[in-house]
């Protein structure tokens, strides 16, 4: 099964407004993905919508967020259920700055329904870090039953390597490579963690442009955890440009 574990919807201020859950699911199905994960910045509020889209399309879906930690590092939290992802959203938002988003500066943040109606506009600036550290987030996410993945560790900004110098031990279930990361070079810096590659799509054309693959039947936290432990995940080739 092929999967893309890092996709932003229109709720992320930096993502295109065309990134509605229905469009994302349509694109992922067309690209042959068996599973996807919705990972907006600091919020899982578009997960109810994508759960319905995925159910209708018959594609596997995990729910979570791209959590920007107190260290200003991007990490992925992935869960089996929308409820778990929303519980993490509450925990993160309690530790977010109370500053109101200016859409002109950062971008719009619409929460939408499965059929593309706007429910509300998120008022917090989701482009900011929260006061939860990586070890605190790891403990919380694991206690909620989720997976914790260090995002795009090869990127020059907002990655564990750029921010902390290395990948901390004992926090993550796997690491993620970006679209362009050389597999051999970055596996050597992955501190022994299982490796994934996902699109980090902010535009519809980027959904499933890169992917990971594992011999799993059901698309779930448990099956991915086992695939990480078995080192049975294979990743798509690197792209030459982002």
């Amino acid at each position: 099964m092929r999967f893309d574990l890092h996709i932003h919807s229109c709720l992320s201020p930096c993502a295109a407004l065309e990134m509605s859950p229905s469009q994302i699911v349509g694109r992922a199905v067309a690209a042959g993905m068996g599973g996807i994960a919705l990972t907006d910045h600091q919020s899982a509020k578009n997960c109810p919508a994508i759960a319905e889209c995925a159910r209708r399309a018959g594609i596997g879906c995990l729910f979570g967020m791209e959590l920007q930690s107190a260290e200003e590092v991007h990490t992925l939290a992935l869960f089996d259920t929308v409820e778990q992802a929303l519980a993490l959203t509450d925990w993160v938002c309690e530790a977010m700055p109370k500053r109101v988003n200016d859409p002109e500066t950062f971008g719009d943040q619409p929460v939408v329904t499965w059929d593309d109606d706007i429910v509300e506009l998120e008022w917090r600036i989701l482009a900011m870090g929260c006061r939860r550290t990586i070890p605190e987030a790891a403990e919380k996410i694991h206690s909620l039953g989720g997976l914790y993945i260090a995002a795009h560790i090869d990127r020059p900004n907002y990655s564990v390597v750029s921010g902390l110098g290395t990948v901390p031990e004992g926090c993550f279930d796997a690491v993620e490579f970006s679209r362009t990361a050389d597999e051999q070079a970055w596996t050597a810096k992955a501190q022994g963690y299982a490796v994934t590659r996902s699109s980090d799509a902010h535009n519809i054309g980027d959904v499933a442009r890169v992917w990971s693959e594992a011999p799993i039947g059901a698309f779930s936290v448990e099956s991915l955890k086992k695939a990480f432990a078995d080192r049975s995940v294979r990743i798509s080739p690197a792209l030459t440009s982002f």
Binding site: C14, R99, G129, P156, N157
Partner: protein, 111 residues
């Protein structure tokens, strides 16, 4: 202090100019949440954060110029946003400490 003077003192290159900037204080940080929390307006920010979000934070905080250290490259989307938002960008070979020393006649920015 003008953008040109900052560029001269840090032996830097002006990537995006802001000739009308009147910079009265300086702040050095690589953590944008810290910048948001503590940097006041009419200021220059010494940092290595060479990406688009830095400009958004400057806009919110009223920062009028950024000195990007270690000659980190300025991506196009960052430069475009800086032009739009009237934030000057200067790149320098200097480290954050060296650039801060070079600008030491400016008072520390706070809010």
């Amino acid at each position: 202090m003008t953008v040109r003077e900052i560029a001269e003192k840090t032996r830097g290159e002006i990537i995006v100019d802001n000739p009308n900037a009147a910079i009265n204080s300086a702040y050095a940080s690589d953590l944008l949440s810290d910048v948001m929390g503590h940097c006041g307006d009419e200021s220059v920010l010494v940092t290595i954060q060479n990406h688009l979000n830095t400009i958004a934070v400057c806009t919110l905080a009223g920062i009028e110029a950024i000195v990007v250290c270690h000659r980190r490259p300025v991506p196009n989307d960052m430069a475009e946003a800086a032009k739009r938002e009237n934030v000057a960008i200067i790149t320098t070979e200097m480290s954050q400490f060296e650039a801060s020393k070079a600008l030491a006649e400016l008072p520390a920015s706070s809010k």
